[in-house]
């Protein structure tokens, strides 16, 4: 008799679907994954949608509407393990830029019938509403890290997802520091590893797509950016990206807002 395969689900909230596409992009591994687990609910990939409970649920996207709040609580109830994936689910995403503005004003300008729009005043991470077992940061997530997290939960071990700076990835690869060697502003020292130091590997500064690292000293790095000639506005914008509402980045951008 075949052993019952663990049921895996992938849910989507307010997001661009890029993290789900990263999963689908794991082409070499998808067949192995499909063999090892029962992909029970993944509307982006399959019309076959099995009911919960699920052994592992991966959640993409942020919470932006009252409906989202209800739905994420349902998802939590149906899931033994809940893992959030991507900057939206872990920090509120790029759409959290509206957290600094009045959402009602936007809906008035954009929609002919703004009364049809039911939106919360802020875009928040999943962990603001329900307990999350593991957060996988990144915009978008790294497909290999996704497989690592899934394998780790399936085999009940600790995922090897380092929360140190991107600098360690650069140095391990032998990349020469763009900040020191070229004077290019780089968020690597305050940013969570995981992308494999993608931008610095191509002589670009880090944009902070993977959100804050474990102990980010954003203030010290900002001071150095100012020394390099950036304005307070530049620094504010540097921290107000895909992970703008992650606490460390939010506080730093606020400190430079005039």
């Amino acid at each position: 008799m075949a052993i019952k395969k663990p049921k895996v689900a992938v849910f989507k909230f307010a997001s661009c679907d890029g993290c789900q596409l990263s999963i689908l992009d794991a082409e070499d591994e998808l067949l192995i994954i499909a063999n090892a687990v029962d992909i029970a609910f993944f509307p982006e990939a399959s019309r076959r949608m099995l009911k919960g409970p699920y052994d592992i649920s991966f959640v993409e996207g942020s919470i932006t509407t009252p409906h989202d709040v209800e739905y994420i609580r349902e998802v939590r109830k149906m899931s033994r393990v809940l893992v959030t994936i991507g900057a939206c689910a872990t920090a509120g995403g790029i759409q959290a830029l509206r957290n600094w503005k009045d959402i009602k004003e936007f809906t008035q300008i954009v929609y002919a019938k703004p009364e049809y729009i039911s939106a919360l005043d802020r875009s928040l991470p999943i962990s603001s509403y329900v307990h999350v077992d593991f957060e996988l940061q990144g915009c978008p997530i790294n497909k290999y890290q996704f497989i690592e997290v899934m394998s780790a939960f399936l085999h009940r071990r600790r995922p090897n997802v380092s929360s140190h700076s991107v600098c360690i990835e650069c140095k391990t690869k032998g990349n020469i520091c763009v900040l020191v060697d070229k004077g290019i502003p780089c968020l690597g020292p305050v940013t969570h590893a995981g992308c494999g130091a993608l931008c610095p590997s191509y002589q670009r500064g880090c944009y902070g797509c993977y959100g804050p690292m474990e102990s980010p000293n954003t203030q010290s790095l900002s001071k150095h950016f100012i020394r390099l000639g950036l304005t307070g506005q530049d620094v504010m914008l540097a921290f107000r990206g895909f992970n703008a509402y992650a606490e460390a980045f939010r506080k730093e951008s606020d400190a430079h807002e005039k």
Partner: protein, 375 residues
């Protein structure tokens, strides 16, 4: 070698012959090259690939490559890379494990499959000292890292003594340069005077003597030796930094609660760049990975740092949660506890941690602050 060998003279045109002879003897030459505008250490096919005519300007948090007015082959100091990356690999698989029914089979990774016979060309005296420091860590009789030991055993080292110092250099303070006295196969000093361009060469080993016997060379005369010596002495006077090492261990031990640690913690990014670029930092972590099926597992070792949170995480908590504690750990280990542990300082004065700290934290300055406010 017991008997003192005469200093030899190698014409600059013969530098490529040296590299060729080294290659013919089965070594993979590695040395400084310029890639994408940066100074790195990489495979070296010929002397033409050396950063000839380049120099570097270094200060806290800046490194710039500049053109020289001459054609020196080694007219720069050390870059971000160090020889550590070839001897103590940043990432290495230790073994593979395959599930066999209810048990599993372990397939070790043989060092011999990974090891290259590296010939390091252009090792600076501070970096040679760093290699000796890591020898004490990885191959000290009591503890042996088989991979490190195997790579070192097959390692050829051609030192180039420094004839100029960089803005963050302080090897004189740490007694590790600008001249190397032992522990090399060859030690060269580059001399450029007028149209004359040559290297004085000291032979430090049997392999070094064998290599030199295959290359056309002369015996250096007294004037040539003195010219080379003067250039090295000039470098010694040019140190961009200095560190007073008198009673350094006692001072650090007596100042674990000095308030200057709070100040440096405010600036420290805990990014671990200093550790990564340090040629003696030796910490690593071990990661076990499994695939989705659970049939296949691997154990990997990779560079780690006392600046990461995971480093001091144990059951029940983290015994070094603050960045203050982590910076203090790094600096106190490097300059003080290292002496108790290995009988030598962990610092060789190469200046990398000063140049490559993104926010200009300078170990010589931090030490000065502690010393001046010492209890």
């Amino acid at each position: 070698m017991t008997s003192r060998q005469p200093t030899l003279k190698l014409k600059s045109q013969q530098l490529n012959t040296l590299i060729n002879v080294i290659k013919q003897r089965g070594y993979t030459p590695v040395g400084p090259v310029v890639r994408e505008g940066s100074l790195i250490y990489d495979r070296l096919n010929s002397a033409d690939e050396l950063p000839r005519g380049w120099t570097d300007e270094q200060d806290a948090a800046t490194f710039r490559l500049k053109r020289r007015s001459d054609n020196a082959y080694f007219g720069y100091n050390v870059g971000q890379h160090s020889w550590k990356q070839f001897l103590f690999l940043p990432k290495v698989k230790l073994f593979t494990s395959i599930k066999k029914g209810k048990t599993f089979e372990v397939i070790p990774n043989s060092p011999h499959e990974i090891v290259q016979n590296y010939a390091f060309i252009g090792v600076r005296p501070c970096d040679l000292q760093a290699i000796k420091v890591q020898d004490l860590v990885f191959n000290n009789g009591q503890f042996t890292d088989p991979l490190y030991k195997t790579i070192r055993k097959k390692n050829f080292i051609a030192v180039v003594n420094c004839t100029q110092a960089g803005g963050t250099c302080f090897c004189v303070s740490m007694s590790s340069g600008p001249r190397a006295y032992r522990g090399f196969d060859l030690a060269m000093t580059e001399v450029l005077s007028g149209d004359d361009h040559f290297f004085t060469v000291e032979v430090g080993s049997k392999s070094g003597a064998e290599v030199m016997s295959e290359i056309p060379h002369d015996i250096a005369d007294q004037t040539q030796i003195e010219t080379a010596d003067k250039l090295v002495e000039r470098a010694a006077r040019q140190m961009g930094r200095s560190m007073d090492v008198k009673d350094i261990k006692e001072i650090l031990y007596a100042n674990l609660e000095n308030k200057s640690w709070d100040d440096v913690a405010n600036r420290c990014l805990t990014c671990a760049n200093c550790v990564m670029v340090c040629p003696t930092c030796f910490c690593s972590t071990v990661e076990d990975i499994t695939d989705v099926t659970g049939e296949h597992a691997e154990r990997w070792r990779r560079w780690d740092s006392c600046f990461t949170m995971d480093f001091a995480k144990v059951f029940g908590g983290n015994f070094r949660p603050s960045s203050k504690g982590r910076y203090r750990q790094w600096m106190t280990h490097k300059l003080a506890t290292w002496i108790d542990q290995f009988g030598t300082s962990g610092c060789v004065g190469c200046g990398r941690c000063i140049t490559w700290c993104p926010v200009r934290i300078d170990i010589t300055e931090e030490m000065r602050t502690i010393r001046s406010g010492a209890r």
